[in-house]
Symmetry: C2
Subunit: 235 residues, 2 copies
DNA sequence: CGATCAGTTGACAATACTCAAATACTGTGG
DNA sequence: CCACAGTATTTGAGTATTGTCAACTGATCG
């Protein structure tokens, strides 16, 4: 929690009510949430928490993006999740274990909403709708993690990359065009590989007519082949 | 849900109250749970559900064990979780997505408790304590999955195996002795590798004086070295 | 008792990582 | 606004862990 500044501003309530985590939560309880919330700012590259840190609460991203990742003893990282505005992270420590199971670092200058554990648990205890939203959010994440395990174990890097490109295509819905939303180094870390390997495989996909690359902008040339690659997981 | 038989027996209430999922739930609500629960039997190797199946509820294991796993198009499997008596599986489909994200098969003849989605959600809505238990359970699983992703991505097979052996040692608390609770083929699938590789690495660990192997019974000879291997992830 | 399955071992192939170097970018301070 | 330092990206050469294929043994189960 280095380099963070507490802000005192703006009506949080509306923003909170617009997040999927708190969608449908009644006004009264929304006020309760905003009452216990603290908005903090943190700079690009700032450490938000580290694995093992006591988890006295969790965060929502208001602006910017955050990466949640595991770190190996020799410094290699595996990104578990890139958190975008409106999403939350760190809830796991609130409901089990009391310590963060991973590291979190700001990818950009961020504005975060911090919700302290005890107060938040008290609110959840009195609001089943909120609890169900949380259960849905955690279930959703579990689903994502299962897919990630599946990919890491049963697909080779080209397959994982292809799946990610298709995912970005859907998400961005801009025809054949898409942009990688991470640096290639970070993308490698998300896909469970290293920059060199990612670079080579991107070239290969271009050479073989799957895609066309201009920096971080990709044009999907053969979606069919890309989908096959993502499906079976290997060239 | 092939090969399952509904039983009409026994007071479930006590058993339910003893599971960690429903620990601390008040008697009244416990009766509600037992009212909606169905006990089913299924035989070893029976399919309980497959990926994509509609998730109309979830299960607790009363007797036997169940494996939850992902399957690649060419038939390779990655075990996500081995469910033991008292534990639950399939909750994800109840709270998000409505379909099972993985496959589940009985490892042994099993007795399962099935809880139908709609009735169960209704109960959760009226019982915050139950909701908090569920949040804890899902959070716990998220933690396990994060560790698994970490292991698959940042550790080599020897490191994953070493970590697993240490885990079994702690769990079984029988001095230096431990037994693999799965066939070596299944263990390979749990560790994200194949039987041949697992076999070779077990031999290597024995040859190098880490462990001694007699079938599925392992004696830990050098816990220190095993712990180092698990920590740094590579030989 | 035969057949299927689990486990082991060998030879080989291949994906992916390591190390190294060259080039392109980025952001910052002068 | 430019120069510089520090990153990011790409490419090459070599290595290595792990997967594939195949054969063989031993165990398990009808």
């Amino acid at each position: 929690m280095v380099n963070m500044v507490v802000d005192k501003d703006s009506p949080l309530v509306e923003w909170l009510g617009a997040t999927s985590l708190f969608a449908g939560v009644e006004g009264e309880h929304l006020w309760g949430l905003s009452g216990i919330a603290m908005v903090v700012s943190c700079k690009r590259r700032a450490n938000i928490f580290s694995e093992g840190d006591p988890g006295n609460g969790f965060y929502l991203v208001k602006e910017g993006r955050v990466k949640v990742f595991m770190l190996s003893p020799d410094g290699k990282e595996q990104i578990l999740h890139v958190i975008e505005p409106g999403e939350s992270f760190g809830e796991v420590a609130v409901f089990a274990g009391q310590s963060f199971p991973a590291h979190a670092v700001a990818l950009e200058n961020c504005r975060l909403v911090f919700l302290p554990r005890e107060d938040f648990v008290a609110l959840v205890s009195g609001n089943p709708a909120l609890a169900l939203n949380l259960l849905a959010a955690l279930s959703q994440r579990l689903r994502q993690f299962a897919k990630m395990i599946d990919a890491l174990s049963l697909k080779e890097v080209p397959g994982r990359l292809a799946a990610h490109l298709l995912y970005l295509g859907e998400k961005q819905a801009a025809g054949n065009r898409l942009h990688l939303e991470l640096s290639k180094t970070q993308l490698a870390s998300l896909l469970g590989t290293i920059p060199e390997t990612l670079s080579r495989i991107l070239s290969r996909l271009q050479r073989d007519g799957f895609i066309s690359i201009e920096g971080a902008e990709i044009t999907v040339i053969d979606q069919q082949k890309l989908a096959e690659l993502a499906e079976i997981g290997k060239f």
